[in-house]
């Protein structure tokens, strides 16, 4: 069994008003050093695959087809084997 952790982030070209709002909050807290806050999504899931390659293929397809919308989002993932 494999466990995938997927990060979905807004593409760099897209303004992230949520990130901006959080950045203002961070600045109000006094952390003026913080910049470029961007909000994304974290998804984790198990894949009942026989091999790492199969788990990767499934994770990638699921991310492309549903978890991320390629018009506005990018995704990346890591996979670990679990017993």
């Amino acid at each position: 069994m494999y466990h995938s952790k997927i990060l979905v982030t807004l593409r760099q070209s897209i303004l992230d008003p949520q990130g901006k709002a959080v950045e203002h909050g961070v600045h109000s807290l006094g952390y003026g050093l913080v910049r470029n806050v961007r909000i994304g999504k974290f998804v984790e899931l198990d894949v009942d695959a026989r091999s790492r390659e199969e788990a990767e293929t499934v994770t990638k397809e699921v991310s492309q087809k549903l978890l991320a919308n390629p018009v506005m989002e990018d995704f990346s993932f890591t996979i670990e084997e679990r017993s």
């Binding site: 303004l15 008003p17 949520q18 999504k41 549903l66 978890l67 919308n69 018009v71």
Partner: protein, 237 residues
């Protein structure tokens, strides 16, 4: 003969009954609600994907509704030239389903905006706007948190060149200004149509501006256009 409206009901749709009321009582047509688990839309003249919060807006607005069983048949219907009208959440579902280009992002203000806005009719040469005049200003309400239309440069140019931008947010005099943009939409875009002209999505709610009891009836221009166009079309057929 009356037109048959098919209004798809997803879990979380909430403008389905408004759409049905307007189709039957105000427009005098036939309308049936179609549960999203059905596999066929049946014998209808047009499909409305109504407003609401399908699947609680989980993941992304419209992302999960797109996988409802009925959507296969809606896509088939659209690809065969059938008329499909997506309002608000319906528009979000249409872009997620790939029937319209682009995407609807979170409102720039991060606030849910519920108010009357002005819309400029940019293209009156569609079956959805035949009763309007190009440049005409309509007053129709919006109610959404994710209506900030975005598309990449190529897509935007294609939309512009193909005259596919049907409505833009404007001020009462029809000027397209940043102040008149309620959600940050690219180019003040409020509604677009597909290349073949049979699928339209818009964030504002024409069905909420159709009953004279509510004092605003500009939405009827859009709905009457659809009825007139489809009746005319069926008479030719």
């Amino acid at each position: 003969m009356a037109l048959r409206f098919g209004i798809v009901v997803f879990p979380g749709s909430n403008c389905d009954h408004d759409s049905q009321y307007v189709a039957e009582t105000i427009l005098g047509q036939e309308a049936k609600l179609i549960w999203h688990k059905e596999s066929s839309i049946g014998d209808v003249d047009l499909v409305i994907l109504p407003g609401g919060f399908s699947y609680g807006d989980y993941l992304r607005c419209g992302a999960l509704a797109r996988f409802s069983p009925i959507m296969k048949d809606v896509v088939r219907f659209a690809n065969n030239g059938g008329t499909v009208f997506g309002i608000c959440n319906g528009f979000q579902i249409l872009v997620e389903a790939g029937l319209l280009p682009g995407v609807l992002l979170r409102n720039q203000s991060l606030k849910f905006v519920c108010k009357y806005v002005h819309l400029k009719v940019e293209n009156s040469d569609t079956l959805f706007t035949s009763r309007c005049v190009k440049g005409e200003v309509l007053e129709i309400p919006i109610a959404h948190g994710d209506g900030n239309y975005f598309a990449d440069d190529d897509t935007l140019h294609r939309l512009e060149d193909g005259n596919q931008i049907v409505f833009r947010y404007c001020d009462p005099k029809g000027r397209i200004t940043a102040e008149a943009n309620p959600n940050g939409s690219l180019g003040n875009i409020a509604g677009i149509i597909n290349e073949s002209g049979n699928v339209l999505g818009m964030m504002p709610h024409p069905e909420r501006a159709s009953d004279p009891e509510l004092h605003h009836t500009d939405g009827r221009k859009i709905l009457d256009s659809i009825v007139e166009s489809l009746v005319h079309h069926s008479q030719l057929a």
